[in-house]
C-alpha cells in the first residue's frame, strides 16, 4: 500500500475499495451455492433413509421428521447388502485390473509407435463408444447365454471391460503422449530394452495418470446398472440390488435409500483417499 502511494499512484476510489472488499465474499457465496446444489441429492438420500415410509412419500417434502434407524436395521439384518457389496467389489476390481492390463500397454503402443493403421486402430477402439450400450446388450446376452458366461463374475467383468477399455486406452494414450520422448530415449541410451524403458521409466512416471484412470474405471463398474442387470441373475451388484427395492406395488424408499447410503460409504471413502491422485492424474501433463 505504502509503495503504491509513494509511487504516486492514485489511491483506489471508494467504490473500487468496497468492490474489492466484497469480492472474496461473493466468490465464497457462489461456491457455497454450488456446493449446496451438488450436495442436496446426497442430503435428501441421507434424510430419506431415516424417514418412515409415510414421511418419505408425503406429498409435501418433509424437512422435519422423527428420525428412525429401522431402515438400516432391516437392511443390515437381511444380509443381502453384503452380498451385493461383495459382488460389486469383485466385478469392479476385476474390471479395473483387466482394463488396465489390456488398456495401458495398448495406449503406450498407440502413443509411441508408428505403424500402418495406428490412427485407424485408435479410432476403431473409440467406435465402441459411438453406439448406445443398449445396442450391444442383446448380442452380449445371446453370446453369454450360449457360452455360459451368463450370471458369472467373469462375464460381468468382461462386459464392463469391453465398455471401459476404449476410455482407458484414450485417456492413457493422452498421458503417454504428454511424456517427453526423451525419457525413453535416455533409457535406451542407458542400455534398457524397449520393454524395460516402458516398465521402469514410463509406467512409474505415468502412475498418477494410471491411478486416475483406475479410479474412474472402478467407479464406472461400481455404478454400472444395465449390463449388470441383464447379464446376470443371481449375481447382483449394488445398483441391481438396490433396484430390488422397487417393487410393482410400491417403492420401499426407506430401505432403498438406507442401502444406498451403506453402499455409498465405501465409494466415498475410496474417492476421499485417492482424490489427490485423481486430481493430479487428471491434470497430469506438465512433467518437466
Amino acid at each position: 500500500m505504502s509503495n503504491a502511494e509513494q509511487g504516486g499512484l492514485k489511491p483506489p476510489s471508494r467504490s473500487t475499495r468496497i468492490g474489492r472488499m466484497l469480492q472474496p465474499w461473493i466468490r465464497r457465496l457462489a461456491l457455497w451455492l454450488f456446493a449446496l446444489w451438488c450436495l442436496f441429492p446426497i442430503y435428501w438420500l441421507l434424510t430419506m433413509s431415516l424417514k418412515r415410509q409415510v414421511d418419505a412419500i408425503s406429498r409435501k417434502p418433509k424437512f422435519i421428521f422423527q428420525p428412525i434407524w429401522d431402515n438400516y436395521l432391516n437392511v443390515l439384518a437381511s444380509g443381502e447388502v453384503w452380498l451385493f457389496f461383495q459382488n460389486s467389489l469383485i466385478v469392479a476390481l476385476g474390471t479395473t485390473a483387466l482394463s488396465l492390463l489390456l488398456g495401458v500397454p495398448t495406449a503406450y503402443v498407440l502413443a509411441r509407435y508408428r505403424f500402418a493403421g495406428n490412427a485407424d486402430f485408435g479410432f476403431w477402439i473409440l467406435t465402441t463408444r459411438m453406439t448406445p450400450p443398449v445396442a450391444m446388450l442383446i448380442p452380449f446376452f445371446v453370446v453369454y447365454i450360449r457360452s455360459g458366461l451368463f450370471d458369472s463374475h467373469l462375464g460381468l467383468i468382461l462386459a464392463h471391460t469391453a465398455i471401459t477399455l476404449s476410455i482407458v486406452v484414450w485417456l492413457m494414450k493422452g498421458f503417454f503422449e504428454d511424456l517427453p520422448l526423451e525419457l525413453e530415449e535416455a533409457a535406451l541410451m542407458d542400455g534398457a530394452t524397449h520393454f524395460q524403458a516402458f516398465r521402469q521409466i514410463c509406467l512409474p512416471v505415468a502412475l498418477p495418470g494410471i491411478a486416475a484412470v483406475a479410479i474412474l474405471t472402478f467407479l464406472f463398474s461400481w455404478n454400472e446398472f444395465l449390463f449388470s442387470l441383464v447379464l446376470a441373475d443371481r449375481i447382483q451388484t449394488v445398483p441391481v440390488g438396490l433396484y430390488n427395492f422397487v417393487g410393482y406395488q410400491q417403492i420401499r424408499w426407506g430401505e432403498l435409500t438406507a442401502s444406498a447410503v451403506i453402499m455409498l460409504l465405501p465409494v466415498l471413502l475410496f474417492v476421499f483417499i485417492f482424490q489427490r491422485q485423481l486430481v493430479r492424474g487428471l491434470t497430469l501433463g506438465a512433467i518437466k
Partner: protein, 352 residues
Amino acid sequence: MAEIQLRNIEKRWGQFTAVRDLSLTVENREFIVLLGPSGCGKTTTMRMIAGLEPVTSGDIFIDGTRVNDMPARDRDIAMVFQNYGLYPHMTVREHIAYPLRLRKVPEPELGNRISAAADKVHLQDFLDRRPRALSGGQRQRVALARAIVRTPNLFLMDEPLSNLDAILRVSMRAELKHLHRELGTTTVYVTHDQIEAMTMATRVVVMNNGAVEQIGAPEDIYGDPENLFVATFIGSPPINQIRGRLAGGVFQASQASLGGFAKDISGDAVLGVRPDNVSIADRDADLKGTVFAVEYTGSDLLIVVEVGSERVTLVGDMSKRPRIDQAIGLKIDRRRAFFFDAKTHARMRAAL
C-alpha cells in the same frame, strides 16, 4: 573405445533437409566438437550416431561395422541430452545407478562407482533428490554423471555445460578434459560456445545449415578458415571484413588501396583480418579513420574505428587509450589477412 565413420549421411523431414551429405571420420580416442549456430543440425547428427534417429541416406560405421540398423542400446553409447532426459521419479542416486543396474553390475561395486561419478560432477550433496528439486545446472550434471558412470564405446554430449555458471563451466570443462585423457573414450561433443570448442577439441567440425563448413584442429579453424562463414563464426570479437577488389597483389577498397598481397589471385573479394592482427600506425597507414568506440573488456581494450562506411575493430594497447572521434591510422598484418570470394565466400588461396 571406437572409431566412428559417417559416410554421406543425410537427414530429411519431408522437404526439409536438416543434415546434408555429412562425411566425417572420428578416430579412436578423439574428442570431436560439433560447433555451429542454433538449428544447424548438431543435435540431429548426434541422434543419428546414437541410433535414435534413422538416417535418410548414407551409412554409419562404428569400428568398421555398419550400424544403420543397429538399435540404440546395442551401440553401447552414452549420451548427455540437451534437455537432460532425466527420469522424474528417480533420485540422483538412482539415475546414476540405472545404467549400471541394467548391466547387472553387482551391488557392492555400485556404491563406489556412484559416489565416484557424483564426485566428479560435484553432486555428492544431492544424491537423494529428484530432478524436480534440482536447478538446471544440477540437472545437467546428473545427466553427465549418468553418462560417465560407465565406460561406453563412445560419449555423445549435447551442450552438457550450457546451463552452468561461468566458474562451474570452466571447472567442468577441465574435469571433462581430464576424464577424456584418463579414459580415452572417443567423444563427440556439441556446443555453440567457441571457447569450449577451442579448448576441448582435438578437431572441430563447423556446421551451418545442415552442412559441414570445415573440419580441422582448433588452430586451423581459427588460423586458416576455409570460408567466410568459418572465419566470422570463430573468434571473438569477430573478424573484420572489408569489401573490395583484388588484382595484381593490390586490394582496392572503397577508402584505401592496400598493396603487398599475393599476385596470383584476383577478383571481387572480402578481406578478413582478425582484430589481433590490426595495429595502430602513425606513418604508412593502410587505412585511415576515426575512433568510433573504445570498449574495455577487462583483459583487452577493443577499439572500433570507422573507416568510410565500414567498421574495423582492433585490440589496442591498454596504456594508450585513444579518444572518441580522434583520427587514427591502421596497419594490417599481411601474413594474417585472408581473402574470400565475394560471391561464393570460399577462401581464395595463393599458390605457394
